[in-house]
Symmetry: C2
Subunit: 348 residues, 2 copies
Amino acid sequence: MRSHRIALIPGDGIGPDVVEAAWKIGEAVAAKESFALEPTRFPWSCEFYTETGAMMPEDGIETLRGFDAILLGAVGWPARVPDSVSLHGLLLPIRKAFVQYANVRPHRLLPGVEGPLKSEGFDILCIRENTEGEYSGAGGRVHQGGRDEVAVETAIFTRTGVERILRYGFEQARLRSGRLASVTKSNAQKHSMVFWDEVTRELAKEYSDVEVTSYHIDAMAARMVMAPQSLDVVVGSNLFGDILTDLGAAIQGGLGFAASANIDPTRACPSMFEPVHGSAPDIAGKDIANPLATIWSLAMMLDHLGESAASERVMRAMEAATARGIGIRPGSHTTGAITDAVLNAIEK
Amino acid sequence: MRSHRIALIPGDGIGPDVVEAAWKIGEAVAAKESFALEPTRFPWSCEFYTETGAMMPEDGIETLRGFDAILLGAVGWPARVPDSVSLHGLLLPIRKAFVQYANVRPHRLLPGVEGPLKSEGFDILCIRENTEGEYSGAGGRVHQGGRDEVAVETAIFTRTGVERILRYGFEQARLRSGRLASVTKSNAQKHSMVFWDEVTRELAKEYSDVEVTSYHIDAMAARMVMAPQSLDVVVGSNLFGDILTDLGAAIQGGLGFAASANIDPTRACPSMFEPVHGSAPDIAGKDIANPLATIWSLAMMLDHLGESAASERVMRAMEAATARGIGIRPGSHTTGAITDAVLNAIEK
Ligand SMILES: CC(C)[C@H](C(=O)O)[C@@H](O)C(=O)O
Ligand SMILES: CC(C)[C@H](C(=O)O)[C@@H](O)C(=O)O
């Protein structure tokens, strides 16, 4: 029997609630489709930090390397541990160590979900560069606290980094509509974004079957709200992708529905799947967190593992549940009730 | 009689269409409120560039310095002159030379206008830093065209720059609801944005009557779509403000309605007023451009010049026109018809 080794990192706040919910769906669909999922749970979190002084053990990355994929809940509990410690001690090191350079986030309305827009028929796949660019961390400050203080933050773009994320974008566009939107701001950022546009034009020759259009980030943000149905695959830098995917989450009804995959397309390292939402400590353990974003992320994980029939089955089961009004509004159903509704639909 | 000297720069494409339309409103309201507007027209544009080799004469900035305000239409005609030449030869030098550090953009629905959101009751004032930050232009590239090519783009934030825009934000918040939203991304940009947050906290002590909240740019973009009525005054960096104000334009029904002011709050230099939209060369001179964004910008100019009764009168006249369905949908009315409707309402 095919078998996949999965590292589960429930993390903080509602992380455990949504990961355990999604895991039930994973086990059910594996039974249906006749493969095995072998879970190993890691308690790495802010609580772990409080006990041990680190968000994960020193050999954490090496331990994870042996798995086929990682399913993560949420990291962060600002009242206990500053984000600068928790995010930079667990979430971001995994993305970087495993060169998960493609952060992939689908944005469409599940049946029955009411978004904030009047438009409904959109289906966008956002691809965010996940390892460099505006979040490189380079920079510094002089004359700290003084009248002449200056802070600089340097965005670093390498040809390797830009080319591989654009290539991933072109490949995804090929698998979908053949249209790719590349997001820059080359009329105001003349080094990094002009470079990005140049690499886009070079690759466009190679992928001549894909129709690629460049948009400025400001125009793209407006387009996602005014004409989301005009978009298909959208690729952008770390910062621009970060902004556009929260906007994407907003137009799909909120963070409760926003799934994500941190992919290493070379498959040399395990990829990581996580809901876009945070840890929401105030509602942790109360059986009210919406597990749909994590269940959707699980479906993306199954697809990545080659279990596309199982992935499809999870998506159809989620859609069957939301079409019946389950989990479509904050507070309308418990975590357990939403999970059960998806489970029932899987069994059918 | 009070008199104000105004530099008119119609610019490119539909720029002349909308500036001349707005100017008719300006003359009518000046007559009503008993003051004079003395216009001087400058033909600086891409056409001017083609004839003279420059977007404006060498003493252009010195010439403008003597005016009380500048009303600008639009700059750019990419098919004739690259944006890097036109924008950096006319629009951006004026903003910088006159230290128009506050780019102010109001976002609300005019009566009768249908936005893309289901929410309608929002009234947001975005304030964008207009002189430094992510659009400083610093950076460069090595190994150009090679496998090891690297491009860096450095955002530069000075204490002077950050403090004065935040101060302007706090002042505007005082004049409105007493609530200020400051937009950063300090969990990922640890030099520039942490600095911005620190200056915000320092100023918050001085403006203890204002309630200030920091948001990450991704969360703010989502909030503008999911809960725009929860926002009042929003202040952000050059890039973040650029993105949020296009998003603001989108939720208010489109760029046809988005007005802006480039303000030097010290009043040492003239401020500049312009619609947010571009030059749309394809529809230039066809009497179909919507002049409402420019008329609204004119109202902001009048207010800045101390003519608040005239400014109010222009706003009420615009609202009377759109409430009757005039100019609320692309193509529904000509530039002339929209202008006449506003003129009629001014006369009443
Ligand atoms: C928590 C934060 C560092 C993270 C990011 O910006 O990558 C989050 O916003 C996300 O989008 O996954
Ligand atoms: C044309 C461009 C340089 C300009 C800017 O980014 O400042 C425009 O987008 C704006 O928002 O006024």
